[in-house]
Amino acid sequence: MKIHEYQAKEILKENGVPIQDGFIVENEADIDSTIDRVAKEFNCSQFVVKAQIHAGGRGLGGGVKFCPDKASAIETSKEILGMTLKTHQTGPEGQLVRKIYITEALDIEKEYYVAITLDRTQSKHVIMASAEGGVDIEDVAAKTPEKIIKVWVDPNLGFQANQARQLAFRLGFEGDSFKQAVKVLKALYKAYEVTDASIAEINPLVLTEQGNVIALDAKFNFDSNALYRQKDIASLRDTHEEDATEVEADAFNLNYIKLDGNVGCMVNGAGLAMATMDIIKLKGGEPANFLDVGGGANVETVKNGFRIILSDKSVKAVLINIFGGIVRCDRVANGIIQAVSELDLSVPVVVRLAGTNAEEAKSLLENSGVSIIPAESLEEAATKVVGVAT
């Protein structure tokens, strides 16, 4: 699960990381008074206005602007609030800016990068830091990997003081700023740990001209498996930032991801669902979605699955691929027959059922009278569905 910058910074602040602070505005009417509040609360006369959307690349897209005085802050706020911001992560349709974050402006001496995530190779947490902050860190990693310092943390021991010192020294911090950097690194790890984050990133972490170490921007993603014990975090979800159909599918307990093709598919199991998409592509079609119906595959799941898939108007045919293990294929077949006849579908449906009671299922489908195209193997199913979709 993703959250906004202002929410991420709130988490950092609670855990002891100094942040470039500000307030959120959702209505144009509040812009003027909020700027006054920022000026008073943080004792500043210059501001930064930042669009709050989940996608990255906001600055380049024109969603983050420095404002040297109140008048320009008002003008910029009006411009950004309500705009459709296009970045390399939003896609060409862009994302509506529903909230802006008006913050104090800081005098920046130097920018750094620091992030914590799980290193899957070692099954340990890894802290990555670089004195090349503020830029696209993926570029730094690709071109000059030696400029990224890494420290691995034993999950049972936690982040040790010597590791924080090592990072701060190698980043080049000195004197009082060094002490602040050590504190920030420890606080960041604490924030990562207590929230069950999957990524905690400060980019950039800045050293101000006054010698203070402050988080200018922050990104947190969270492990969805842990949300049951992170109620506060779960409440930060902003469904406006997600695809509406995916949110709806989620409510039906279906795992759906929209893609750009025209062949819809409904499969049990994530691996088989991906493999089904792959074979559709190999047969010359383009998958319209990923949809894992899980272990259920009963009338209701199949019906909801069809509704979700067919809400995408580019879908020209649907492939149902179910491998019955514990699930009996004859039951799945009855579910499909009922769903198809009740929903009055406008596109052809190819059905392939394998595993437990597949033979019974096949004759049920053949004798049902509903217009389903049966297929025996994965190969045959993919060939048939691509054939009818084009």
Binding site: Q89, L118, R120, T121, S123, K124, H125, D154, P155, N156, E193, D196, S198, D223, S224, N225, A226, Y228, R229, N255, I257, L259, V267, N268, G269, A270, G271, L272, A273, M274, A275, T276, M277, D278, I279, I280, K281, L282, P287, F290, D292, F323, G324, G325, I326, A354, G355, T356, S377, L378, E379, A382
Partner: protein, 295 residues
């Protein structure tokens, strides 16, 4: 022969009185497994599965009383990490955790702790193990498999069934099928299983089914290049998956260039693995590979 489990495995089921646990324990028993007991805290002394097996309060008791050496876990996600640790502390050699949805940070702690023990973990979020005609330790449907000479390693559930089904259709049985799970942190990685299958005299070929995300397939491919003499047939699911989107499994997300299907397939092929493009060609490709070896 087989790897990890066989007819002599003494299996206990943690969470045997829950609905998932009792259903699947019954299926395992029906397959002919040696289920020697179950563990549910507070229900020690009772009997489970129609009074066929004893229930213990702790894994320690189950180890002492009935000599359990394999534990199959169906405990809910919030308690599953603790259940794995309990089995390890009781000295159980092999733990198979089926539970889906365990927090990743819990698993990172468990994984690191297990490094200091003699316990091997399979999973979590996996279908478990199946040694045809001998032991079914998990939720794989037993009837789809048959005894034979192919070892199967897979991150997925139903895609494993698909592969096993294709193998049987071309007349090939399996030594052991291992579902390792699709989470970011899992107990046993692909390379370790390649080693076990390489050392198993009855395994003649190995099928390795991976997914986008992580670098486990690449590590396994590099291991195979150096140490595996048997043919390895590989497939990577998610060739059409867009970067940055999680495809069902918590671990199936392309977050770097090396984690894409294309990158993994290229490295696997470089390491001498026979890479299958279509998921429909797995069975046939193994058959061809074995024919070449025999000639």
């Amino acid at each position: 022969m087989s790897i990890l489990v066989n007819k002599d495995s003494k299996i206990i089921v943690q969470g045997i009185t829950g609905s998932e646990g009792s259903f699947h324990a019954e299926q395992c028993l029906a397959y002919g497994n040696n289920i020697v007991g179950g563990v549910t805290p507070g229900k020690g002394g009772q009997k489970a599965l129609d009074s066929k097996v004893p229930v213990f309060n702790t894994c320690f008791e189950a180890r002492q009383e009935v000599g359990a050496n394999v534990s199959l876990i169906f405990v809910p996600p919030a308690f599953a990490a603790d259940a794995i640790l309990e089995a390890a502390d009781a000295g159980i050699e092999l733990v198979v955790c089926i539970t889906e949805g365990i927090p990743v940070s819990d698993m990172a702690k468990v994984y690191t702790y297990l490094e200091s023990t003699n316990t091997r973990l399979i999973g979590p979020n996996c279908p478990g193990l199946l040694t045809p005609d001998e032991a079914k330790v998990g939720i794989m449907p037993g009837f789809i498999a048959k005894k034979g000479s192919v070892g199967v390693i897979s991150k997925s559930g139903t895609l494993t069934y698909e592969a096993v089904h294709q193998l049987c259709q071309v007349g090939l049985g399996q030594t052991t099928c291992v579902g390792i799970g699709g989470d970011p942190v899992i107990g046993t990685k692909m390379a370790e299983l390649l080693e076990l299958f390489e050392n198993d005299p009855e395994t003649e070929a190995i099928v390795m089914i991976g997914e986008i995300g992580g670098s486990m397939e690449i590590e396994a491919a590099q291991y195979a290049k150096e140490k595996v003499t048997k043919p390895v047939i590989g497939f990577i699911a998610g060739q059409t998956a867009p970067p940055g989107r999680r495809m069902g499994h918590a671990g199936a997300i392309v977050s770097g260039a090396d984690e894409s299907a294309a990158a993994k397939k290229a490295i696997m092929a470089d390491c001498g693995i026979i890479v299958v493009d279509s998921p429909a060609d797995i069975g046939m490709t193994v058959k061809k590979a074995l024919a070449t070896v025999t000639v």
